[in-house]
């Protein structure tokens, strides 16, 4: 469904990704793991069109994305819950969610069903539907960011560090929801520093170090890999 080929992304003079190639098949859940600064967020931003690509290419459904604008990529079906959640602070929970329907919603089309589905997944958001974004807890903001991305009716969901800054109990809850979303058949690419959580939901994984893919394989194999265990699982 999505593939990157020898992708190079740079900020000014410093190169963040040195030719990253990966592919994601329809229905797969892929974990992208690695330390802080390995280039994980840069890769997601490049896929969403927020960072310009220096060389290499990104294909979605076999079609090169080139310099397509971010908002058009969302229309193609690539939604992202970005790093730091980026919930709109001055908008209510419901307004945040409704904004997610921008790519498909036309006059007279109701977001009610999509809203219901997100509220079923995250009942807490329903309780807080008329509260402003800034007043939510970290966990609620993360749920809102994921729910908002789902409102776009995506075919590929990009999640950037959904466990960041959450208490372990809450992080597990968020991952339980991600497992449910994946089980419903959505293709997911999740970037994560919490390797245990990410590999538990993923089918396959890529390990990124200093802007390069150093390891890839089935999640179960990665969990057993000596290098992964030493570097990321604390053993």
């Amino acid at each position: 469904m999505l593939s990157t080929d020898k992708l190079v992304v740079a900020y000014g003079g410093s190169v963040a990704l040195h030719g990253v190639s990966l592919r994601i098949g329809g229905g797969e859940t892929i974990a992208l793991i690695g330390a802080n600064g390995a280039g994980k967020t840069t890769l997601l931003r490049a896929i969403s069109g927020l960072n310009p690509v220096r060389s290499g290419s990104i294909h979605f459904d076999g079609r090169p994305l080139g310099t397509l604008a971010s908002e058009k990529r969302v229309s193609l079906g690539i939604a992202q819950a970005p790093e730091g959640r980026r919930v709109f602070p001055g908008l209510t929970v419901e307004e945040n969610l409704i904004l997610g329907t921008t790519p498909w919603r036309r006059w007279g089309q109701s977001p009610a069903k999509d809203l219901e589905r997100v509220f079923d997944l995250f009942p807490r958001l329903k309780e807080r539907r008329s509260q402003l974004g800034w007043s939510l807890s970290g966990g609620e903001q993360q749920m809102l960011a994921i729910g908002r991305a789902l409102m776009a009716r995506p075919r590929l969901l990009l999640l950037d560090e959904p466990s960041l800054g959450l208490a372990p109990r809450l992080a597990e809850e968020v991952y339980e929801r991600i497992r449910q979303i994946a089980a419903a058949g959505l293709t997911i690419l999740v970037v994560e520093q919490n390797t245990v959580l990410a590999l538990a939901v993923a089918d396959r994984g890529y390990v990124l170090e200093n802007g390069r893919v150093v390891l890839e394989g089935r999640a179960a194999e990665l969990k057993q890999d000596a290098r992964v265990r030493e570097a990321y699982l604390g053993r």
Binding site: S48, G49, L50, A69, S70, E71, V74, S75, A79, Q80, P82, R86, V87, F88, P89, G90, L91, E95, I98, L99, G100, T102, P103, R105, R148, A149, A152
Partner: protein, 291 residues
């Protein structure tokens, strides 16, 4: 008492015009982060668009008003493309100097087109008065207050009840996240400028019959609208409305009960007081830096 009622309504009418100018200013500031020092000249353009369509072209007033506001919307779009887009990554001082410069250009363009002789823009309700508690209220002043009230309601509906308005608020809060929602950010920013220009245009059309249409009218309006936003709270829409009404009321009541030489004293003294004691204004919002 009759005098007071008359002054009060006229003050509300003048304050309504300041409020509309201030709302346009606030919409642009919150959406784009630009402090538009040409905001007063936008209002002046609105008045002269009315002069051009009604007095010069001789259009009947509903058509003339609509044509004037369409011209203002087009001007807002032009301003977005010619002034905002090239300057949007520049330092804030450059943008400020840019809008000041464009304001001077606008003023001189009006001087070139219309000359320095003031015009009289006739109200559709010219000469009609309403009796309220023994006071003779000009129907135009009453219309200004009513129209402003309706517009405020419409603006509220736009920003809080339509997908378009919610999108405009989202862009004002986080441009990148707005892109990730699939919003066309440039289109929404252009709409913010057009909306601000149309509101300034309405302010200009309403103000025309109350003052003379004079190419130098923009600066005093900009100062009053600016005072209104500081008193009400920079970046706040309710603040722009409350501040505008306050400035208009103190101007007319002050001129009558104190001295016409000091009519602006109260509003600006209050503004300075707010800057010293409560810089976030009445409806103060958290001061935040933009990325």
């Amino acid at each position: 008492m009759a005098d007071f009622i008359q002054l009060f309504i006229n003050g509300l009418a003048l304050g309504s015009v300041y409020a509309l100018a201030a709302i346009g200013f606030v919409i642009v500031y919150s959406a784009t982060g630009v402090v538009n020092f040409a905001a007063g000249q936008f209002v002046m353009f609105g008045t002269f668009a009315g002069v051009a369509m009604l007095a010069n072209a001789g259009l009947p007033w509903p058509v003339g008003y609509a044509a004037a506001l369409l011209a203002m919307a087009a001007f807002g779009a032009l301003f977005f493309i010619v002034v905002y887009l090239p300057l949007r990554t520049s330092p804030v001082v450059t943008v400020i100097i840019g809008t000041v410069a464009v304001g001077i250009v606008m003023q001189n363009a009006a001087l070139l087109g219309f000359g320095s002789w003031p015009f009289r823009l006739v109200s559709p309700l010219e000469g009609i008065t309403i009796d309220i508690g023994g006071a003779a209220i000009s129907a135009h002043a009453a219309m200004v207050v009513v129209v402003t009230g309706l517009l405020v309601g419409l603006i509220w509906l736009l920003f809080y009840r339509t997908a378009l308005g919610i999108g405009m608020r989202a862009v004002a809060q986080d441009v990148e996240a707005a892109r990730l929602m699939g919003l066309n950010v440039n289109r929404l920013l252009a709409l913010s400028w057009m909306l601000a220009a149309v509101l300034a245009g309405i302010a200009g059309l309403l103000l025309g019959p109350m003052w003379f249409a004079d190419v130098n009218m923009g600066d005093p309006i900009a100062l009053k609208a600016f005072a209104a936003t500081i008193i009400g709270g920079f970046g706040s829409l309710p603040g722009a409305i409350a501040g505008g009404l306050f400035v208009g009321l103190t101007e007319l009541l002050g001129a009558s009960y104190l001295s016409s030489a000091y009519k602006d004293l109260i509003a600006f003294a209050v503004m300075i007081l707010f800057l010293l004691v409560r810089p976030q204004g009445v409806f103060g919002e958290r001061i935040q830096d933009r990325g």
